[in-house]
Amino acid sequence: MTCEQARIQMLGGGEGKDFAEHLASCESCRNEVSRIGTLWQSLDLLPLEEPSGKVRDRFYEMLGAYRQGLAAAETRPVRHWWTAPAWQVAAAAGLLAAGLGIGYGMRGNGQPPAEVSQLREEVANMRQLVALSLMQQQSASDRLRGVSWAYRAEPSDREVLGALVTAVNHDSNVNVRLAAVDALRRFSASPETGRAALQSLSKQTTPIVQVALIDLLVDLKNPEAAPELRRLSGNETANEGVRQRAQWALERLQ
């Protein structure tokens, strides 16, 4: 094996008897290999650039817009209306919202044009997607952002509600659980919310989350919470602040 061959082998793993033998006998290659190896490793120490949060926001906006076929998603200007995708033209002409007959059949598969309510649904789907996706991330900070997005979901969105309840009950991070309790307020109209909050209260042991749940139950005006609150206010092992809060809540709910 020549020096040139050996050195090229090095970065690919440098296996084999030939390679080892050459190194054993060639000092210049050994030095080279050592220097290059160190340099190669040092490249690892260069700090990693991180994109700003805007990238994610823009991506999900684009995704949502793309689904609705809004002109904004297309970066190229429409030159000839008969060559551009039908939905794009319809949107540009404001026909989607108006739901005029001219839009009918212009969509590739012959379906009627999207109505405003359907458009709203698409946007809601996008928000749901972002919330659910972020809430499953490894990073607690990302999950926290996911909970913020969940707060903007549709109050009827059961998937997001479910994800929030799961977060309240099972997220390993106190701050994420706390934020999730607050986000449940978005779903006040749903009867499941009160039930879930009450169930959670009986299982939570972190004082600040217990307080948040108690406050939520009061805001939801949930009288079924009374037995649990009574139990909590009398529980001597519970945090003093929590007990006070439970007592206050009982008074509020009378």
């Binding site: 970065l11 160190t38 700003s52 952002r145 913020s148 706390l178 206050w248």
Partner: protein
């Protein structure tokens, strides 16, 4: 992936990986009896440090190296006992510090969950490591870390300084003090205590949406905060001592036009938000 040479010795990446959840053997080159050095199995991938303790104080510092270095009196205690075992016997872990260190999939886990013992644990990790700490009876201090910082303490304070990662800190009975030099944009953060002041310093140019909830205390800041919504919910009740007013209030505001959410929640304590 690629293999590379370290100082003339050929090491395949596979050899560096320890099988899942294996305890780390004390490396021979460690002269300091109270110290343990652990390598991350894949140095070019994101690193994580997880610490769980009961009675120990934890100090974590970012440094310019690649390994995790753990120092504690508990380690030397354990080694001392391992060296002095009478023949035919084994030490019982009574009254000892009991530190366990494992590494798997680029996550170094340090746990000292015994009710006995105590003392300090000092950990050094590469600056770009994300750190998760869970302690019960003593405080946590994190310094010079640019990865995500998640700290939970029950009866101790949390202090984060000279750092730039996203912070989620909580304490039941302790003060939360956080000083960030700069923050990567788009990171959400949260600070919460039950009984304790929350004292946070943020870069002056940070863009954030603030959400502050204080029950018995006030919020002070030298930022120019644009308050967007002030929800105040009170109730009055008659007690034999007179009228008692209770309220739970959440204030929303923005800094520098708004950005990701920063939440401050405390029951008994004040919130201080400083501009750096």
């Amino acid at each position: 992936m690629n293999r590379f040479l370290i100082g003339g010795m050929m090491v395949a990446l596979g050899a560096l990986q320890t099988p899942a959840q294996n305890p780390v053997q004390n490396p021979a080159q460690n002269q300091n009896p109270a110290q343990m050095t652990v390598a991350f199995s894949n140095p070019s991938q994101p690193r994580k440090l997880v610490v769980k303790t009961m009675m120990h104080r934890v100090t974590i510092k970012g440094y310019d190296g690649k390994d995790a270095i753990i120092e504690s009196s508990a380690i030397s205690e354990r080694r001392r006992r391992e060296r002095n075992v009478p023949p035919g016997m084994h030490p019982l872990n009574v009254g000892g510090g009991g530190i366990e260190v494992t590494e798997a999939n680029n996550v170094v886990t340090v746990s000292a969950e015994s009710f006995f013992g105590g003392g300090d644990i000092q950990i050094q990790v590469p600056v770009e490591t994300s750190v998760t700490v869970n302690t019960v009876n003593n405080g946590v201090s994190v310094e010079n870390i640019s990865g995500e910082i998640d700290v939970e303490s029950v009866n101790g304070g949390v202090s984060v300084t000279n750092s730039s990662g996203a912070v989620l800190a909580t304490s039941v009975n302790g003060k939360v003090t956080v000083a960030l030099d700069k923050v990567a944009p788009g990171k959400a953060m949260s600070f919460s205590t039950m009984n304790g002041t929350i004292d946070v310093t943020l870069p002056a140019d940070i863009k954030a949406n603030l959400k502050m909830k204080v029950d018995n205390g006030d919020v002070y800041t030298d930022f120019d905060v644009k308050v967007t919504n002030d929800r105040f919910d009170t109730t009055q009740s008659n007690t034999e001592k007179g009228v008692r007013i209770r309220g739970n209030k959440t204030t929303y505001g923005t800094i520098n036009g708004g950005g990701p959410e920063m939440q401050f929640t405390t029951f008994n304590g004040r919130v201080l938000i400083h501009k750096k």
